[in-house]
Structure formats: structure tokens, C-alpha cells
Symmetry: C2
Subunit: 162 residues, 2 copies
């Protein structure tokens, strides 16, 4: 994963765009649950992701970026809707937060690894900066998880997903 | 999963749209590998998915359809690019076919189950028809898999994904 700067910027832009899209879905879903607090949290996350996305686009400027495949940046499925049997299930707030957290951690680990492994100073610098930002998001989600009741019936065995 | 007709149509439209998008990505990727035969197969799959999509849209006509969340219809990640460590890996033809097959089977199982469980005659009828179509796709992919050399190094342990 020794990215060139254009490769890294393309991934970061796609990750932030994807994050904003998913947070918007989660915010809308929490709104239908009339859970305005968690909905507002997700709308904040939408805003942060878009701001970050736009700042990376500005940083990229006129650099030609490679085209990515969807699976190179997409969020994983939320654990409790994984598999083909669960198309019609909705997320409760606790699992929505957990889903968001899983994906923030995934982003954090991704940026950290790029930062450690890259030999390009500008990639290293940006990756470390982005990793720090993801860390803040994980902490914000942890605060919310601590205040959110865990649903009594687990949707899926822990062993079923990692 | 006792869908109303609008719910079922919304899922089917989203599934076919998603399938067309993913087949297009796979076709493009195989083209960059100069594997024109497998690329042509995926372009055929794009066309079939779009035709099917358009026919379901026509069937839906003026029926108001519910809005779905991305995770209710999205393809899973290809097995060998799963997880955050593999953002920069490309698919070889064998694994691309396997990825497509996994998702066709997922669609087939989904349609079959809806067909069996639904109490609405029109949902039952359409779901059975769509399941039969997915079965043909799985068979086409099986034919290609039988003719495609398996890469010598497995990308990931079988135990890692289901």
C-alpha cells in the first residue's frame, strides 16, 4: 500500500463521499424513528464528512486522480442487515451507532496504515492528519454508544460477523 | 418478508440497478486485463440487468415505491478485497466470476424466499419469474468458471468469508 499522492487522494475523496452518503441514510432512518438526538449526531457527521471531502478535493486541485472500483471504498453492510435474509430490517439507534463506529475504525485503520507504510512525505503527512480526524469521530460515537440503550435481543450472533 | 407489491418492486429495481453497475465495473476491470472474453460476458450481464430493470420499472408504472437504504440491496464486497487492508487489490478473472456468482446466488435466494413466503399472488408470481432468471445467470457464470483457471495463490482463507 505504497500509494502515490493521486492514488491516496482518490481513496480519501471516495471514502469521505461514501461516509457522507451513509450518514445521511442513517440520519434519515433515525428521524423516522423520531430519535432526533441520534439523527442530529448523524447529520453532524454528514457535515464533517462533506467538509473533509471538499477540502481534499481542493488539495487535489488539478492532479489527475485514478478511477476506483466501488469495493475499494464502500462501507461494509451493517452487521444486523448482513446476508440476503434481512433486506427489510431497520436499524435501531444502538446498532446504527455501532455500524458507524465500525466504519470509522475501518477508515482510521486505513489512514494509519497508509501513513505508516507510505514513502511519500505528503501522503504520510495527510494520512496521519486524516487518521487523527477519524479518531475524533470514533470517540464521538463511543460517547453516544455509552448513552444509548443496547437492544435486548441481539440481531445476530457476534460470531457471525467480524 | 411478506412484501407488498410496491416493496417487492422497489427491491427488485434496486437489485437489478446495482447488478448492472457492478457488472459494468467488472467488465471495465477485465478490459484493463485485456481479458476480452470475460469482459464481454460481464457486458452481456450489464445488458440483461438493465433490460430486466427497465421491464420492472414499466411493471411498476405509476405505483409509489418506498425508498430503500443502500444496505438493503447492495452487493457484498468481493471476497478477496474484503476488509480494510485490501483497498488496492484488483480482481483476477476467476475471482471476478466467483464474486458475480455469489451475488447472483444471493439474488436468487432472495427472490425464491420472497416467492415462497409472500401471500400476495402477484408478488409470488413475479418473484418466481425473477428467481428463474437469476438461476440462468448462475448457470452462465458456472460455465465460465469451469473454463477459467483458478489463481494459484488464494487471496484469502475460505474460513474468512461466507
Amino acid at each position: 500500500m505504497d500509494y502515490t499522492l493521486p492514488e491516496f487522494l482518490a481513496h480519501a475523496i471516495a471514502l469521505e463521499h461514501e461516509a457522507a452518503e451513509r450518514y445521511l441514510e442513517l440520519a434519515d432512518m433515525m428521524e423516522t424513528y423520531r430519535n432526533d438526538e441520534v439523527s442530529a449526531l448523524f447529520r453532524d457527521m454528514v457535515r464533517y464528512s462533506r467538509l473533509h471531502h471538499d477540502s481534499i478535493v481542493r488539495r487535489a486541485g488539478t492532479i489527475a486522480l485514478p478511477k476506483l472500483r466501488s469495493w475499494e471504498y464502500r462501507w461494509t453492510q451493517p452487521p444486523e442487515v448482513g446476508g440476503e435474509e434481512a433486506f427489510d430490517r431497520a436499524l435501531d439507534p444502538y446498532n446504527a451507532l455501532l455500524y458507524a463506529r465500525e466504519n470509522e475504525v475501518r477508515g482510521l485503520e486505513y489512514y494509519s496504515r497508509v501513513g505508516q507504510q507510505s514513502s511519500e512525505p505528503e501522503v504520510k503527512r495527510l494520512a496521519a492528519e486524516f487518521a487523527a480526524e477519524e479518531t475524533e469521530h470514533v470517540e464521538a460515537l463511543d460517547d453516544w454508544l455509552a448513552r444509548t440503550p443496547r437492544p435486548s435481543t441481539p440481531c445476530r450472533d457476534d460470531a457471525d460477523w467480524t
